[in-house]
């Protein structure tokens, strides 16, 4: 296990290993996401208060959770880069930012779309919404900060520090609904009982969607990290060989 983990720290081994995992991950994602979305959209009973509108929750909840998970992941890899100088850790952290930003944007957008008929407003400066908006700004700020540096190493260090500072926002988002009296509802309890507000027939498809989205996130993250590896390792022999092979395949060598 440790050996496997260390291998992922080498850009070249990360590239060849993900080559092997990507097809499996793709199948896993397509099946889970396809099943979960169809189930949630058409095969779960409507909510007794929100009617069919609650089906938005099947994407809003996993998007909001993943937006925070992605941030935690970016901060962890940033710490890994600062402490052990693992270059791949920085490349993964860099890949997290644009994906996290787009996921946070979708979490906010789907929340607004759900809010128009339910709350009667698309936006309110409530603690949950505001702290999530701050997370979006953090993601965008980290992307901008990196592009402001010419040196890869200085940019990586600055972004790692900003990512770590932004971690204080995560517990604020998570507990905002408990600490303040927010319009945003608190976390729902999962119950095995059929008479609960969220019976299994409602939350089981949500798990399919959730893991499907996690699969998609890993695919997007791996694809971006691999591109970053190709760019940073462009002068190495193995990348030249890979490009040469690609030339042979496309027949213009």
């Amino acid at each position: 296990m440790w050996q496997w983990f260390l291998q992922l720290g080498s850009p070249r081994l990360f590239y060849s290993m993900t080559d092997r995992y990507l097809p499996w991950l793709t199948w896993f994602t397509v099946i889970l996401l396809g099943t979960g979305l169809a189930w949630g959209l058409a095969f779960t009973p409507p909510d007794y208060q929100m009617g069919e509108n609650y089906r938005i929750a099947y994407i809003h909840v996993p998007m909001a959770t993943l937006a925070m998970g992605c941030y935690a992941m970016m901060a962890s890899f940033s710490a890994g880069y600062l402490i052990w100088k693992i270059k791949v850790a920085d490349m993964i952290a860099k890949a997290c930012a644009p994906i996290g930003a787009s996921i946070t944007a979708v979490a906010l957008a789907t929340g607004s779309l759900w809010g128009i008929p339910t709350w009667g407003t698309w936006w309110i400066w409530d603690a949950r919404l505001t702290s999530t908006l701050i997370m979006l700004f953090l993601y965008v700020g980290i992307i901008a900060l990196r592009s402001a540096f010419d040196s890869i190493d200085s940019g990586a260090r600055a972004c790692a520090v900003l990512s770590l500072v932004g971690v204080v926002n995560l517990p604020i988002i998570k507990y905002s609904v408990d600490w303040w009296n927010t319009l945003h509802q608190g976390a729902s309890n999962l119950s095995l009982s059929d008479t609960a507000a969220n019976p299994p027939e409602v939350w089981i498809p949500a798990f399919f969607v959730g893991f499907g989205i996690l699969g998609f996130f890993l695919i997007a993250l791996i694809l971006r990290t691999r591109n970053e590896i190709l760019i940073r390792e462009r002068r190495s022999q193995w990348v030249s060989d890979l490009v040469a092979n690609n030339m042979k395949e496309s027949g213009d060598a």
Binding site: G51, E52, I103, A109, L113, A220, L230, R234, A244
Partner: protein, 60 residues
């Protein structure tokens, strides 16, 4: 076994009057997925192209 919850496909698309909100949410979500998968594929193509040009320059 879960059952189809709508009387007809038309009712499914109408989403009980919430079609606007439900379908735009799923639309935004689909766009986000598409962007995050297509962007890196195009970027990789560009990287390979640039490197190919560099290799050819060096070998000639």
């Amino acid at each position: 076994m879960p059952e189809f919850q709508f009387q007809s496909l038309a009712e499914f698309f109408a989403m009980g009057g919430h079609a606007k909100y439900v379908w735009s949410s799923y639309g935004v979500f689909a766009l986000m997925i598409a962007y995050n998968l297509i962007q890196p594929v195009l970027a990789k193509r560009k990287i390979i192209k640039t490197q190919k040009a560099r290799l050819q320059r060096n070998s000639s």
